[in-house]
């Protein structure tokens, strides 16, 4: 699905990331950890073609990301669900409209998707908040809404960048549970987090591979987990 071969990325001075090799197989669950500023977000951006590798190659759904046109990137994003730590929404749209946005922009919105949307909002526990505007939501609600928006199109891959960064432990576990459920449904999941406790909690529920970025390189996480 997503494959990096000796991928590197840098701007200005030296490379931020180098020699990144990883293959996200269908149905796999990966954690990506490392200290703040290590390059986790950059790594994820390479995975959804928001950045282009300055060395090596990144292949997304069989296409070399460096050669993708804008339209091809958009089509690729339609097969992915991305959850950001800062959960950007369109503040003038209701929560329900925001969650349905990936359908709206691809012309798949409307009555037919209404039932799916209601189910999904129930699944993330936000049915009662459907009409709320994003600025009215709590951190946990925003994270769950971002996850719902990421999966509304039934994507093949879910990429989450610090999805539990701004929420309490209880809400983090709930969000983790949702990601595990998605993985059990066959979705490929990659979660970038510096929260080792969350990774330990996940390992009790799912067979996850844990990677670590250190010194600009990717390695399997060691005994600390």
């Amino acid at each position: 699905m997503i494959e990096l071969k000796e991928a590197a990325y840098g701007y200005g001075g030296g490379p931020l990331l180098s020699d990144m090799t990883l293959r996200l197989a269908p149905g796999s669950f990966h954690f990506l950890t490392g200290p703040s500023g290590a390059g986790k977000t950059t790594f994820l951006k390479l995975c959804y073609a928001d950045l282009r590798a300055t060395g090596g190659s990144v292949t997304i759904f069989g296409q070399e990301s460096a050669e993708m046109s804008r339209d091809e990137i958009a089509r690729t994003r339609q097969r992915m669900g991305v959850v950001h730590q800062d959960c950007e929404f369109l503040d003038h749209l209701s929560l329900k409209e925001n969650i349905a946005l990936p359908l709206t922009v691809t012309g798949r919105g409307g009555q037919a998707q209404e039932a799916n949307l209601s189910d999904l909002m129930g699944w993330v526990g936000l049915s009662a908040r459907a009409g709320a505007l994003p600025p009215e939501l709590s951190g946990g609600e925003r994270q769950r809404a971002a996850l719902a928006r990421a999966v509304i199109t039934d994507p093949d891959v879910i990429l989450a960048d610090e999805p539990t960064g701004n929420i309490d432990w209880e809400m983090s576990l709930r969000l983790l549970q949702l990601l595990v459920e998605l993985n059990r449904m066959g979705k490929t999941v990659l979660v970038a987090t510096h929260d080792l406790a969350l990774i330990r909690a996940a390992k009790a529920q799912v067979s996850a591979r844990v990677l670590r970025i250190a010194g600009g390189r990717l390695q399997l996480a060691g005994a600390e987990l």
Binding site: D71, R75, E97, L101
Partner: protein
């Protein structure tokens, strides 16, 4: 797809898609006001151009079909020369009719300059012969040669030296009207480009979110293009309506007022300003589309 097809495609309503870009900012008022003001001016430019066109045609038509022969001769020979001129004209192909102006008509011509009690019989005023041409016209050089031989005091004035600068002036005025219209459309395009760029810059975050969820640039651009095109259309419709009312309220054409009272539309020409709003919309469509794609390409 044709240009018109692109426009119609972009104008298709999509309530959901319309909502993804927030409706706010000064660009709304700027676009509406600019379109309305420019459409108002465009209606006047059109009126000027069309009035000039009518004037050019009228002068051209009126002066082209008539000419004058002026006869200056001693009093004793005057009548003889007038008859000689009329006889020559009767035999000249291309002359439909010819007649000598009588004293009353000549007095009326001179009255604006010399007053009503002009003693015409005491002044060495030349006699005038009015010549009306057929559609084919006559040969002025041939006529001049014959007049020189038959009536040495006769001078043919075929109005060319009057007609040409007048018609040229009216035609240039008409061209200036069209040039003004083109400049107005150019200004609309420039203002809407600026407003669209400003709106796009103010919505960088919205664009980032839309791209993140898989929106194509075509979709994002269309949301802006549709909005600006409709604003330009509605603003221009208001401006055109006001412009047409203002033109309708101008004094109607009168002989005494000359050109100024003839400024406006006549007959079917009243339909021409109705093309201004669609023209403004087409201009806004291309201006916004160009600005949108340029801005989207520049965003990471």
């Amino acid at each position: 797809m044709s240009g018109l097809g692109n426009i119609l495609d972009a104008m298709k309503g999509d309530a959901q898609a319309d909502r993804v870009v927030p409706r706010r900012g000064h660009s709304v008022r700027l676009t509406l006001f600019t379109s309305a003001a420019m459409a108002f001016l465009a209606v006047f430019a059109l009126a000027l151009s069309m009035a000039s066109g009518r004037l050019a045609d009228r002068w051209s038509e009126a002066l082209a079909r008539s000419s004058t022969i002026r006869i200056s001769a001693p009093a004793a020979q005057m009548e003889e020369q007038v008859w000689a001129v009329l006889e020559v004209l009767q035999q000249t192909p291309g002359v439909a009719s010819a007649r000598a102006l009588n004293e009353e008509e000549q007095r009326a011509l001179l009255e604006p300059w010399f007053g009503p009690d002009l003693p015409l019989e005491d002044l060495p005023v030349p006699r005038l012969v009015e010549v009306i041409e057929t559609a084919d016209g006559y040969d002025p050089d041939g006529l001049r040669l014959r007049l020189a031989a038959e009536a040495p005091g006769a001078v043919l004035d075929d109005h060319t030296r009057w007609r040409r600068p007048l018609v040229q002036a009216a035609e240039r005025l008409r061209a200036l009207g069209w040039l003004s219209l083109a400049l107005i459309l150019g200004s609309v395009a420039a203002m809407i480009t600026l407003a669209a760029q400003s709106a796009l810059a103010a919505n960088v975050r919205v664009i980032r979110v839309l791209r993140l969820v898989g929106a194509r640039d075509h979709y994002i651009a269309r949301a802006f293009v549709r909005r600006f095109t409709l604003r330009a259309l509605s603003g221009a419709a208001v401006g055109t309506g006001l412009g047409m009312v203002a033109i309708a309220l101008l004094p109607s054409a009168q002989q005494e007022g000359g050109f100024l009272t003839g400024l406006g539309f006549s007959g079917a020409h009243w339909l021409v300003p109705l093309a201004v709003p669609p023209l403004a919309a087409i201009t806004a469509f291309w201006a916004t589309r160009t600005a949108a794609f340029k801005t989207l390409r520049s965003l990471p």
